[in-house]
């Protein structure tokens, strides 16, 4: 079999298992072009770590995938369904983007738990009020999930009474409650005190081991190397280098990546 045929057949099987595909994504804030054409594909079960210096566009890229930021141009395909975009990059069909967002659960750097609701209310909010799951069922599942992230017994507590690590674990439970087909982690440990990082990484590591599809923007290089099966290095809005973690971390090709890795090590 020649290489072209191999690629074609690989692509064919890929489209069926494909979770997220980003094609030629551009994003500008005013005159500042943050993303200059990024292509990225994640198959189901992939854990893709996105690394890069500050201002490299990694968070922006993640936020473009669920249209929290409006892309300037490009194509976003989620689970084989292309998000319809207007000329200015905004979603053309509000219903479609809302439906797609319910399948992509996001975990934020600042947790963003709803401060006026208890942990339990946070976790059942979307299942009950968006997905219309019966309340009793949602509560049972929420308690299970809170238990799983080590917050059993804290369901009636308000977020303000919890540590950052506990809040982030609750945010992960909230994300899991929607049964997402892929999870987007936007620097989930960057706002945490160093001693609290471990507990959150443990939860994420378990999720990765479960075979969940995840896109993970992170500064934790050791962790990225350990849990990801694909690592993407962004530099000034472009993918500078990507590959399996052993390659990217063990044998970086580009000068910039080498420099970046030595600066964060």
């Amino acid at each position: 079999m020649d290489s072209a045929a191999a690629t074609a057949s690989a692509l064919e099987t890929d489209t069926r298992r494909e979770a997220i595909r980003v094609e030629d994504l551009h994003k500008s804030f005013g005159n500042l072009e943050v993303l200059k054409g990024v292509d990225l594909t994640a198959q189901q079960g992939d854990v893709v770590a996105i690394i890069g210096g500050s201002g490299s566009g990694k968070s922006t890229m993640l936020r473009c995938i669920n249209f929290l930021e409006t892309p300037s141009s490009g194509k976003i395909v989620i689970g084989g369904e292309e998000v319809a975009m207007r000329g200015d990059g905004s979603p053309a069909n509000q219903r479609q983007i809302e439906r797609i967002r319910t399948k992509l659960a996001m975990v934020f750097q600042q947790f963003n738990l709803w401060t006026h609701r208890t942990l339990l209310e946070n976790v059942i909010e979307v299942p009950v009020h968006v997905l219309k799951v019966p309340k009793a069922k949602a509560i049972a599942r929420a308690l299970e999930l809170l238990n799983r992230v080590g917050l059993g017994g804290k369901e009636d507590t308000y977020p303000a009474y919890l540590s950052g690590g506990q809040q982030q674990r609750a945010a992960i439970a909230r994300a899991l409650a929607v049964d997402p087909s892929a999870m987007l982690f936007d620097e989930p440990t960057s706002a945490l005190d160093p001693e609290l990082v471990g507990e959150v990484l443990t939860v994420i590591r378990d999720l990765a081991a479960e075979g969940r599809t995840m896109l993970l923007v992170t500064h934790e290089m050791k962790f990225a190397r350990e849990v990801a099966n694909h690592v993407v290095y962004l530099y000034q809005g472009r993918i500078e280098e990507q590959g399996p973690p052993a390659e990217v971390f063990g044998n970086p090709q580009s000068e910039r990546l080498k420099q970046f890795l030595s600066s964060v090590a």
Binding site: E98, R101, T115
Partner: protein, 267 residues
Amino acid sequence: MGAARAAFTEGGHVMTGLKELMQPHRIVMMLIFAALVIWCAVSLRWDWLPKYAPLALEGLWTTIWILAVSLVIGFLLAVPLGLAQAVGPWYLSIPARTFCTIIRGTPLLLQIWLLYYGLGSLFPQFPWIRSSELWPYLRQAWPYAVLALSLSYAGYEGEVMRGAFSGVAKGQLEAAKSFGMPRFTMFRRIWLPQAIRNVLPTLGGETILQLKATPLVATITVMEIYAVSSRVRADTFIVYEPLLLLALVYMAIAGVIALAFRRLEKG
């Protein structure tokens, strides 16, 4: 847990309340106050009270319902006014801002009179209004009183809600958005509750101010509690006692409002 915490704090209040009250200096103050009340009761004139009590109760009721209705209507208007100013397009935000500026920039008394003497004298000139079902109401004073007080509350609270809506952390809304929450659900479940929660102390204060603005409607012949005290004065030439009682009534209502808001802030 929410209920348990409320019970705990309430229990705490009762405990410290009793203990704190039984301090010597507090007991002296309470005795002085009691003496003052007894002196008022014994040496001032209250013989007019039985005769005017029914009228006073009616007036009290009028004050309370006019206040309540104007608060509800005013707040229902304040929410869109605040939203329009906070995030609305220019063709909504400019009229909203103009409305709030005019209301806040002119005396309430003037607004009441403009509505009552202005609209009130304009309406009868249209035969179709005079023959309409609403005419029996429109020829009375209270609709203008309610309208003026509602618009005034809307104007002030519209400004408060503008700040409240912009003050809700962006991340809170982004989280809702990222889970595919439809816009109206997001408004109802996340944005509005958080906005109101943030300004509850302000709203409590403004509500008490609104209570104390209600006597102004006596100037357009609405017979609320202040008007009753004026009536007593005019009939009997007793000046001081009705006013004293009136002050007590307003303090009692203000106290109830303050308590209600404290409850809300905790819950």
